[in-house]
Symmetry: none
Subunit: 456 residues, 2 copies
């Protein structure tokens, strides 16, 4: 382990240059005109892994973009980890807001600016460079490693669950390791043990069959916007709890220990929401903003539209009003359950003047990983070794559906050891990744591989 | 009069062709990119009037779109009418719901389909063609006529009151005549003696300063769409009465006689709303649909938008949500009063997590005209001559603010002799105007001009 750490120290500039090469390939998976670049990124990555010593590397086709599979098995008796990452990136738009070309990586003030620098090319590359550091010093790895790097994360990992099902034996491992999350704060290490799920639906209320003149019909025909506004308003009570029947039935409540830990974290909820321009927080009664965003289910309208939305005044009484509504779920809740309950709620409460269309757009399971496993302990010790302080065990409010899939399909818990920051602008212009965090990530992974190899 | 009626009979197909030419000009006043077309429509109309014999025609500039002024004075001792109409039209959106191009007029089953066919190009053109029928037969008109055709009715007739004030002498007349309303039913003639007013506003709620990730912030930051939905929902109580403080204070209630007359009209409120696809009516408690739409004030959302409204799912917690909201007013209420009360309501109830922007977009006064004047009697007899039955005296739910301005600024009552139908879809896709009604309108106007010329 020390040799590997020393190798990283000596070769770090070279690592950064190689990462820049990887980032120059505009592997935007949502953009069909970039399909060739997505392929190119997969090939670049596979060639790079093969060259540095990974025993077996293959580009495995899916119905969409390919998965780069790598495998280096050192000893059947040693533990095995399954490293997941993604080499596809978000679109760079709006281009005019970037200070430098998103696909011409630039270092400014110690941060590497490029689309994908943090999400997730930079973070997956930490695993590749950790492996290289072992190969170039010890000649091998301290444990068995399997890699799956996919090219469709930014478009919902559509083909990954099927890939997992089709390759259960190939992918067998003791634990999955993912670096695609953020640190609790800059210099404040953390490991994510909880993720929220998602149930995302669209509802349309139709009243009259055509748009009407509000002067002629206003006062006799129920307005779908007003009706939808009432239905949306009624989804929360005065305590900002969701009113859907049974919504909280299967929520796994925070333990008193977790609440104590949350309360002890260096986190000021009011300052945090004020950073993004909100005047004050709004959270389900009885919970803190941190609990509300990471460990409680929520309901938000993500979009609403209906009637005349152009400039000026048009006196229309519209035929329809529409909303996109999603719930963040917590472990215990499933997207199927909550989507069904949402639909039942809307069908029960739709006014008799309206026709409801309810569409299930998309869902994902939350996840909760035991914090006392050998892998979690190894990860915690590894990060402590780098940062000098124990990482916080935290929950994240976002969703990484693949984590639930690893558990459901492969039976693997996931260690979420990420080195991003909320301020890395991962889906925005000027995405960046601090080189100090790139370095801390490689070091943490080198330490984790060694510690976990000895833990079984 | 008989010669003029015969001329219309012989030349009706030509009249329709000319109207089609007029309708081909997309004079959408709300759309600044169409300003040239609005100008073009004004010029087309002025040229047309001049060519057929109107003594003096002028395009009079305003701070906005111009007014086409025409004047044909035959005898200082004869009565004078001031004919008002508008040559601008509503936007045609949503275009994909039209069965034929809104600006390529098509006749189907005796109806002329085009944006503006009924509202109001087709109806103002009835006055032009009635005049032509007199010019081409008697060589003159039976009374003095002044015409003002404006190009800003669909954007609130912003510059018309100033124009009236600036031209009081020029516009002096015994009565104003407007054809911009609907018949009580197909083949059921009516004259409108009451109009509703309008107060139209836009509200924006802003929570955070930027769009946020709903996974990261959902549960701590109040969602502007959810907040706006609640504010909109709270604008009505369970009796579908508007909850704004003092909203009903100045309403001139229907007299018992009016309620009796309303009840005796051949009108089935449920059948009427079902014709436009509504399953049942929704009216302020204690009132019929006919009362609700013509003699009671109402509040409708005309548009709502916020967040992600594209295809699919985007997990955004948006910075803003917006709504266009308008109230139909009844005589006694003023737009200034109700706009102020709306603003006070929104300012009082805006949640402390939100910043409110409140914009007064436009307003207009309602009107109530005496039904026993010479002009009203002449109009009634004229329509009886065409239809064979006395027209009903009715109130309309729509707003023609200019009617209140004619009274206030010029001291003129207005005869509202309109030939539209509620089913003409005047602010919707597939706007139409029945050619039989275009014809009945011209005939009624020819008769009215003759009858009113003899009534003084």
């Amino acid at each position: 382990m020390d040799n590997a750490l020393a190798y990283t120290d000596s070769n770090f500039d070279q690592f950064v240059d190689e990462l820049k090469d990887f980032l120059r390939i505009p592997s935007v998976s949502t953009d069909s005109s970039r399909a060739g670049d997505v392929q190119k990124a997969a090939r670049w990555l596979a060639d790079h892994m093969k060259a540095l010593g990974v025993g077996k590397v293959e580009i495995m086709e899916t119905a969409g973009h390919p998965i780069v599979y790598g495998e280096h098995l050192v000893d059947p008796a040693a533990p095995t980890i399954l490293v997941y990452g993604h080499y596809d990136v978000q679109p760079p738009d709006p281009l005019e807001l970037w200070d430098s070309d998103p696909f011409d990586p630039q270092v400014r003030n110690g941060d590497l600016y490029a689309r994908g620098s943090c999400d997730d090319k930079g973070q997956l590359f930490m695993h590749v460079k950790a492996a290289e550091s072992y190969f170039k010093t010890d000649g091998s790895l301290p444990l068995n490693v399997k890699y799956i790097f996919e090219g469709e994360e930014e478009i919902g990992s559509k083909h990954l669950p099927q890939f997992l099902s089709d390759n259960k034996d190939l992918l067998a491992a003791d634990v999955a390791v993912v670096s695609d999350t953020a640190l609790f704060g800059d210099g404040v290490p953390s490991i994510t043990y909880g993720l929220r799920g998602l149930a995302y639906v669209e509802v349309t209320l139709q009243g009259p069959s055509i748009d009407l003149h509000s002067g002629v019909y206003g006062g006799a025909v129920h307005n779908p916007i007003n009706a939808l506004a009432k239905m949306i308003a009624d989804l929360h009570d005065d305590d900002h709890r969701v009113t859907i029947d049974g919504f909280y039935d299967n929520v796994i409540d925070l333990t008193p220990e977790e609440r104590n830990t949350f309360a002890s974290l260096p986190f000021d909820g009011e300052a945090w929401v004020q950073e993004v321009g909100a005047s004050k927080s709004k959270t389900e009664k009885g919970f803190t903003p941190l609990e509300g965003t990471t460990a409680r289910p929520t309901l938000d309208c993500n979009g609403v539209w209906g009637g005349f939305i152009g400039e000026g005044a048009k006196t229309v009484l519209p035929a329809k009003a529409n909303a996109k509504i999603s719930c963040r779920l917590v472990p215990g809740q499933t997207p199927e359950e909550i989507t069904d309950k949402l639909e039942a709620h809307f069908r029960k409460h739709v006014p008799e003047t309206m026709t409801l269309t309810f569409t299930d757009l998309h869902g994902g399971h939350g996840a909760l990983t035991p914090t006392d496993s050998n892998a979690m302990k190894a990860a915690s010790d590894a990060m402590e070794g780098v940062y000098g302080v124990k990482p916080y065990m935290v929950r994240s409010g976002g969703s990484i559906p693949i984590v639930a899939d690893f558990k459901r399909i492969l039976g693997q818990d996931t260690v979420l050891m990420g080195f991003g920051l909320d301020s890395d602008a991962i889906h925005s212009p000027n995405e960046k990744f601090g080189l100090d965090r790139f370095r801390a990530g490689i070091d943490s992974i080198i330490r984790f591989m060694s510690l976990f190899s000895r833990s079984n």
